[in-house]
Amino acid sequence: MKNFVFILSVSFLFYSCGKELDLNGNETFEPLAIMNCVMSVGEPIIVQFVQSKSPGDTGNFKIIEDAFIEINNSNIKYLDFILKKPKDDFNIGYYLCNDDLLESPKGETFTIKASNAKGSCSIVANTTVPGKPSIKNISLVDSKLFEYPGRKGTYNFNGIIEIEFETIEPNSFFQLEGNVVNDTYYNLFNVKKDSVYFSKCFLNFLKFEGETFFDAFEVKENTIRNNKLLVELSSIINYSKAIPDSINFEIRSITKNYFEYLQDLNKMEKSSQDPFGFPFIVRTNIENGYGIFAITNPYKINLKI
């Protein structure tokens, strides 16, 4: 027994508390060029051009100022981007292209080139304009709006958006989004109290690959047939200010690389929840940097409830 007491006593001399370890070492950090630009046909062109930052740096991303940015294809050239600085520190800087709207037919390939003033960092990327969704008809069916039991002034909304396409071309990629007008919905992502954004859905028509957001939005896979898609809205939403009267709905054709990028964001979000899993690496189509360069082609409609 004496031996055991001795061993225990000696062992406690080695006692050490749990601690935070510096696993970064003293490596010098080299920032990389980051470019984010998702253009939409008929909308202004905005480019974010910043530097990456080191792990654990809690400061803002540093804007690459005085950058030269050029977007062009064989017929059109967009130049003269103006750096728009954020109003406060919440936002991150971007370049706006002199109020020009993107106008281009399907199939045109655009190239973006961006470099800093010294020319020491430059990036290049390409993307192609997808065709506008060939919609035959969009309608809201089986919609129900009723006051929530026991909660005066709040309503539930259920309904199905039926989208009928003229044709669906192979390798088409779409993104759905929308909002119920006049809704005040309290979710963590909503800072604008006039509408609810109910979409995080992107899909490839050959095989449904998208994922829906919350339980408010459901794409019934079995109904993506005969050029028809049913989008079921089954949210339990509180409307505290005004009775919603319509839904703003958009379906966008998107490029394949943007589709993959959105999927990757989803996967990365999930993988970050498992500390033992592989980290998910979001794909990029930016040469010499990271980010995304893509084009979407929207079809917008307001549907009365």
């Binding site: 080191s54 540093k62 520190d89 026991g150 993988s271 592989f278």
Partner: protein
């Protein structure tokens, strides 16, 4: 035969049995003259020897016995070392001569070692041997020569076992009180084994004593267990049964309530000397239940509950018979594993007496039915084994259901069902071992054929080979090669072998994985100690990964679409093993230096990357010190390089898909003075890490010391044993995982120039196992 008589030789047969239980000892080493052999599957041997030869017999966990060759048939009884533990000094123990790639483990050594929370665990014992690693600290999963946790075949009396984890992997389901012996094959496999790429763990279950009743009751911090064994009909019919249950739901927390239970029963009936029937039943269950507390106010109440359950079931019936020199073992079995998780949330509105509820349920399962035939035939210097097996796998990858109800009316009732399917596999093998002077050669072939509905599969041939050359007495050079195929895989996000991982079988799109194993070893047994040096080289092909960011809740998407296939890999290394077998202090030192990698087309840009558990150096020192008849001490010191992890080289902003439209949520366009028609998608960013390579960094060195003390009191037929121990006694902070959150604070008011400056950021190292004491009591009679 004539020449045999001319030189005074004759056929000598014998059977080696346990002195106490009368059970046959399989694989005992029999040395005579300049030759040696092993006892067969019923403990018998048949050799040609000189009349003057003496036989020296040794067996793992038993003393050495010398027998004068006097009879044509010798019944040799061996005494277990565990019976001699009171004699203070363990004499002994040579064990079976080392065979390349195979390691035997003494049950008595498992019982005398130190474990987390004092729970004896055969798999954790194996983690101290060369070439065998733990995956994540504290867990029972084993990594054998660079293989994944699903590349290990667990056999319980020849029947595969799928779920081997209790407590989310912290301890294994194997209860040492029912195990008779354990062998692990970690590279060079005899042809009789097939089905996994990296190892075979062959558990032989104890039949129970043929002569006396015996019971053991144990209680520790974690669990209580009971074992009973003895004859139903003396020398003819035995039973051995055990049950173990965790006590955490009584001792620590009632909510959430967690418990595990496992039970086994083996009964053997000897019809006569040549026919024996055995039945083996084995069940385990883990249950975690969090019951919802009702919370709320005068207007409404809510509650939320959830649960996880996983179960393993094994049932087998075997018939062993001897027809002349031919020994046959026929086993039919049913084995399976089931995992289920569910949750239930409710909302009750008191005034209106209305209610709403949401329930989720997810289930995955694998069920096997099969038959195995194993035969051995001995003649002259040849020892031939042959047999076959046919197994039907029923695979249920997963079913996920969601139901939403309001006022008892179902609003949503969705069922996402992965199609269940069957996969069958046929194995036929032939193996021959023969000796020539100082050489022993084992040649074998295993024919494997997966049978998949509506799909023509190819035939797989698995050659096996091992050669032994004896330089001097007890000094051997051995080399071997084996090719293995794996028809079953575990879909895992993180290679941990968690209970939620899904078992799937090869299909028309997922082909069997395969490995090729080469090894060479040099070993010498000096009697009281032995040493082994072994080098291995191994390649993997057709590996699969579940991929990161993929949920096991399969969401209506085929699992085949979610996995990365056609992966390759490799592992190479050298293992050193020094073992002291006799004296008051016994134990071993093992050291492994190795390197392991993986390669997938869609991971790490298609380039090779280190395997997560590629710890280059691994040292284990295990000691058992018997100070007196009553008092003994054990310790285990482990040291290794750290596990690999992926360290980001920076962060960058992403586009947030929640901020796509100017009318949608996200950041208001007005806030940033954009034109009202502007697209605000560029303004609402998440932060993404930049990884240039997968597994590009290592955790700090890992080391810890575990100690325990046992004190035994024997009074008449009762033996009391008290055990006190501690895991990680010097409380080393060993990194379990690294936290590198992407939640960079965008609201920080400062804007810093970060070009060219040193990064002083800290990734957080998370450790989960500080010093953990243990206490247990055992009563046997």
């Amino acid at each position: 035969m004539i020449s045999s008589f001319l030189f005074g030789q004759q056929n000598i047969k014998g059977k080696i049995i346990d002195e106490y239980s009368k059970q046959p000892l399989i694989g005992a080493n029999i040395v005579f003259g300049n030759s040696n052999t092993l006892s067969d599957s019923i403990g018998e041997f048949d050799v040609v020897a000189l009349q003057s030869d003496t036989f020296t017999i040794s067996y793992i966990g038993y003393g050495t016995k010398v027998v004068i060759n006097s009879l044509p048939y010798n019944l040799i009884e061996m005494r277990s070392n565990s019976e001699k533990i009171d004699e203070v000094t363990i004499i002994a123990s040579r064990i079976n001569k080392y065979e390349i790639g195979r390691q035997n483990v003494l049950v008595s050594e498992i019982n005398n070692s130190v474990f987390l929370l004092g729970e004896n665990d055969p798999l954790k014992m194996l983690q101290t041997l060369p070439g065998i690693k733990y995956g994540i600290e504290g867990t029972s999963g084993i990594i054998v020569r660079g293989g994944g946790p699903d590349q290990n075949l667990y056999l319980m009396d020849n029947v595969p076992v799928y779920g081997v984890n209790h407590m989310f992997g912290l301890i294994s389901t194997f209860n040492t009180s029912t195990i008779k012996e354990l062998s692990i094959y970690k590279g060079i496999f005899p042809a009789r084994y097939s089905g996994r790429l990296s190892s075979v763990l062959d558990f032989r279950m104890d039949e129970g004593s043929k002569s006396d009743y015996k019971a053991n009751i144990g209680i520790g911090i974690l669990s209580a267990k009971l074992n009973f064994n003895g004859p139903i009909i003396k020398d003819k019919w035995t039973i051995n049964t055990s049950v173990r249950r965790s006590m955490l739901d009584y001792t620590i927390a009632r909510s959430p309530k967690y418990y595990f239970i496992d039970g086994s029963l083996k009964s053997t009936f000897a019809i006569n000397r040549n026919h024996k029937l055995s039945i083996n039943l084995y069940n385990t269950k883990d249950s975690w239940v969090k019951k919802g507390r009702i919370v709320g106010d005068s207007t409404s109440t809510t509650s939320s509950s959830s649960q996880l359950n996983w179960k393993t079931k094994v049932a087998s019936l075997s018939w062993e018979n001897n027809i002349g020199k031919l020994n046959n073992l026929i086993t039919i079995f049913n084995t399976g594993y089931n995992f289920n998780t569910s949750s239930f949330d409710t909302l009750n509105l008191i005034k209106t007496k209305s209610s709403a509820s949401v329930s989720n349920n997810y289930t995955t399962e694998i069920q096997d039915k099969g038959i195995k035939l194993f035969s051995t035939y001995k003649f002259n210097k040849y020892n031939v084994s042959f047999g076959s097996s046919y197994i039907s796998h029923f695979i249920f990858p997963g079913e996920s259901s969601v139901q939403i109800r309001e006022d008892r009316q179902t609003i949503i009732d969705s069922l996402s069902n992965q199609n269940s399917y069957s996969n069958r596999e046929l194995n036929v093998f032939l193996e021959n071992e023969f000796r020539l002077d100082n050489f022993k050669l084992n040649l074998g072939i295993n024919f494997f054929k997966p049978l998949i509905s509506n799909f023509k599969t190819k035939n797989y041939l698995e050659p096996r080979f091992s050669l032994e050359y004896k330089f001097f007495t007890n000094t051997y050079l051995q080399l071997g090669y084996s090719r293995m195929n794996q028809n079953l895989h575990q879909l895992s996000n993180n290679s941990l072998g968690l209970p939620s991982d899904i078992w799937i079988a090869s299909s028309s799109r997922i082909l069997p994985a395969n490995s090729e194993n080469f090894a060479i070893s040099f070993s010498k047994d000096h009697g009281s100690y032995e040493w082994i040096v072994e080098s291995f080289f191994k390649t993997f092909d057709n590996l699969m990964e579940y991929g990161s960011g993929t949920s096991f809740l399969l969401n209506g998407v085929d699992w085949e679409d979610k996995i990365q296939t056609n992966g390759k890999g490799g592992s190479k290394g050298v293992e050193f093993y020094l073992r002291k077998k006799a004296g008051k202090l016994s134990g071993w030192v093992s050291y492994t230096v190795s390197k392991t990698h993986r390669q997938f087309d869609n991971i790490n840009k298609g380039e090779k990357f280190p395997f997560k558990f590629d710890r280059g150096h691994e040292i284990n020192i295990v000691g058992i010190y018997n100070k007196s008849k009553k008092l003994s001490f054990s310790f285990n010191w482990s040291f290794s390089s750290g596990n690999k992890y992926s360290r980001p080289i920076g962060y960058y902003p992403s586009i947030n898909y929640t901020g796509l439209t100017n009318s949608g949520i996200g950041i208001s366009t007005d806030l940033f003075e954009l034109p009202s028609i502007g697209d605000n998608r560029q303004t609402d960013n998440n932060v993404l890490p930049i990884f240039d390579k997968i597994n590009n960094a290592s955790f700090p060195y890992y080391h810890r010391l575990d100690v325990s003390m046992r004190y035994k009191i024997k009074k008449k037929s009762l033996t009391h044993q008290f055990e006190v121990g501690a895991y990680n006694i010097y409380n080393r902070h060993n990194t379990l995982y690294v936290s590198y959150s992407a939640d960079v604070d965008l609201l920080s008011p400062s804007t810093q120039d970060i070009i060219g400056t040193k990064s002083n950021s800290k990734l957080r190292s998370i450790a989960q196992f500080p010093i953990i004491p243990s206490l247990s009591y055992n009563l046997s009679f």
